[in-house]
């Protein structure tokens, strides 16, 4: 029996393929670059949607987690270990194949961490930081929580901007590609553009599959109960503190993975990825997508990120997202694509269908 929740996932898979075919038919393969990047940003969006829309907790610091993932991976895959080759730890790493020999721009040999190891390390660091930050911060509610997470985002931004290790204002560049499997590499080379489009959207598809499962599980129900009446949820035996922390960490991991892969795809990362305006943008997208509506957040994320990356908003890029946030908060604080709207439409349609059936 096909469960109804897998139907949108299947439709999503078809549209991924359809969009790629469309770009091929209309000779617009250059769009694939921005679409691939949009995919990685979508990972941040869907993770954040779980936190904001389902668990009812706000974060204005998710660009920080994106940057932590991106920077950790960028640093580990570019920091030259060759001068430390003789040190025992490094030589053990080298022997077990965890290091990679890469040629730098001038043809010199550099020894760096394997992207797989860097990715795992980046996620581990993110999990650790998210637990340490989330533990105390999630005891706060509403705008206090917003301010605290804003503070976290600001710290990450200032740290990457002010640390020479991380390239200060220039960020890190010349990040090698990430070979997931032989013949499957995350990198910005034009020759493997189509492959990268599918890697990116494959990950989003997988993420959506996992999260729709989660929403429809015992955990998803517990998260929604925390959103609607936290004290009552606690009185029903739900360890609300632990659930809030876990979903915070999970959403941070989604953001960090987006950061890791986008950095390898772009071949670099700069401090603007950690900026507050990025965090605001993610929140605005989740808000316009309908808060507790994963598919709504995803579709809004796709449209707005793609338009932004194609440069349609010009120099007003950040302003556009600010305006969106203001308008949403004023006129549709529960989001534009709410589930209630869909439910209403469905009811209306089915009601009409029935009426017509009776007539016939």
């Amino acid at each position: 029996m096909v469960r109804s929740r897998y139907i949108p996932v299947a439709l999503f898979a078809f549209s991924i393929i359809a969009v790629q075919l469309l770009t091929a038919l209309t000779d617009r393969a250059q769009f694939l670059t921005q679409l691939t990047m949009t995919g990685y940003y979508s990972l941040v969006i869907i993770g954040l949607c779980m936190l904001i829309g389902y668990a009812g907790q706000i974060s204005l610091g998710h660009a920080g987690f994106f940057a932590i993932g991106g920077y950790a991976s960028a640093f580990l895959t570019t920091y030259n270990l060759a001068p430390h080759k003789e040190k025992p730890v490094i030589s053990i790493f080298a022997k077990t194949g965890l290091l990679l020999n890469v040629q730098d721009l001038y043809g010199g040999d550099t020894l760096v961490f394997n992207p797989w190891l860097a990715c795992i390390a980046a996620v581990a660091v993110t999990v650790l930081i998210a637990y340490v930050i989330g533990g105390p911060v999630l005891k706060l509610k509403g705008h206090y929580l917003a301010m605290a997470t804003l503070g976290f985002g600001t710290i990450v931004y200032k740290v990457v901007l002010g640390t020479s290790f991380f390239g200060a204002a220039d960020g890190l560049s010349d990040i090698p590609g990430f070979r997931l499997l032989p013949g499957l590499e995350v990198s910005g080379k034009t020759s493997i553009r189509i492959q990268n489009y599918y890697i990116s959207w494959g990950m989003v598809l997988l993420g959506m599959l996992l999260l729709t499962n989660l929403i429809n599980s015992r955990v998803g129900r517990a998260l929604r109960s925390i959103h609607s009446a936290e004290d009552a949820a606690n009185a029903m035996g739900i360890n609300t503190g632990r659930y809030k922390l876990n979903i915070f960490v999970l959403s941070a991991v989604f953001a960090a993975l987006g950061g890791v892969f986008l950095t390898h795809y772009n071949g670099g990362i700069g401090p603007s990825e950690a900026s507050i305006m990025k965090s605001v943008r993610y929140v605005a997208i989740v808000a316009i997508g309908g808060m507790a509506n994963l598919w709504g957040a995803l579709s809004m994320g796709i449209i707005l990120n793609f338009l932004s990356l194609r440069g349609y908003f010009g120099s007003y890029d950040d302003a556009v997202f600010g305006v969106i946030l203001i308008l949403i908060m004023l006129f549709a604080p529960e989001g534009l694509l709410r589930r209630e709207v869909f439910r209403g439409a469905k009811k209306w349609l089915s009601g009409r269908g029935k009426a017509e059936g009776q007539k016939a």
Binding site: N213, V219, A229, N234, A235, M236, N246
Partner: protein
């Protein structure tokens, strides 16, 4: 056997002694009522028992555990469930989902299992759903399973909240004014329902203003006034207790 033993419980809010040196016990399988005029500290006492407020001093012994320092979810896990004076259902969730939340502690699926939708979690979900529907049937509200909880009629919301607490399979059920806002017929039905619940082996401690309900179904009654316990006896003795009469009817000049 004593299921709940409260000893010298104190709670002060600034200059107000909300609960002062209150001690009482509840026998397993009984229905015990807490009554008293408005502001007597009944709801505060309930919040202390269920872990929503920490007491300033005193002990609460529930079966074999001291629970006065535990969080609400820990108290619930030990087998004490409650309802609220002002109904606290989960809005944006159906009646069935509200009951299913009550089954939370009797199921296990975590984040990883939930994301992967493992076969055993799907089986577990099915069991949770069936068990919740059974409870709704027991309460006579099965027809409203897919209705959004907060759009039910007020009386049905009271019963639904009771069902959510029952779904926890409590040993002790705390009911905070179960008949508040109900009409006479609904109150009588609620009284019957509470007796039926007691007959299934669940001990009930309730706060209530409706005297007919309290006198009809309670085995014992504790009377509070300004945070102090002034009586603890059987219903008939409470009705004749001069101090209780004074508190309820006022003192003659």
């Amino acid at each position: 056997m004593t299921i709940l033993e409260v000893r010298d419980l104190n709670k002060r809010f600034g200059g107000l002694q909300a609960v002062g040196d209150v001690s009482f016990s509840v026998q397993q399988g009984s229905i015990k009522a807490l009554i008293g005029p408005n502001g007597a500290g009944k709801t505060t006492l309930f919040n202390l028992l269920s872990g929503m407020l920490p007491p300033d001093s005193g002990t609460i012994r529930f079966i074999n555990d001291d629970v006065q320092r535990l969080q609400p979810y820990q108290v619930a896990a030990l087998g004490m469930s409650r309802t609220f004076q002002h109904i606290r259902l989960f809005p944006h969730m159906t009646a069935l989902e509200n009951i299913m939340i009550g089954r939370h502690m009797h199921s296990k699926a975590g984040f990883i299992a939930g994301m992967l939708s493992l076969p055993w979690t799907r089986k577990e979900e099915k069991t949770v759903r069936e068990r919740s529907l059974d409870i709704m049937a027991f309460l006579g509200i099965a027809d409203f399973a897919d209705t959004e909880a907060t759009s039910l009629a007020y009386g049905q919301q009271r019963i639904l909240e009771l069902g959510r607490a029952l779904a926890c399979e409590p040993k002790l059920l705390l009911l905070d004014e179960p008949a508040a806002g109900l009409n006479m017929r609904e109150t009588a039905e609620m009284a019957k329902l509470i007796s039926r619940i007691r007959d299934t082996g669940i001990t009930v401690l309730l706060v209530e203003h409706d005297m007919s309900l309290v006198m009809n179904i309670s085995d014992e009654i504790v009377v509070l006034s300004y945070g102090q316990k002034i009586a603890d006896d059987k219903p008939l003795a409470i009705q004749k207790n001069p101090e209780v009469i004074k508190v309820y009817l006022g003192e003659e000049e």
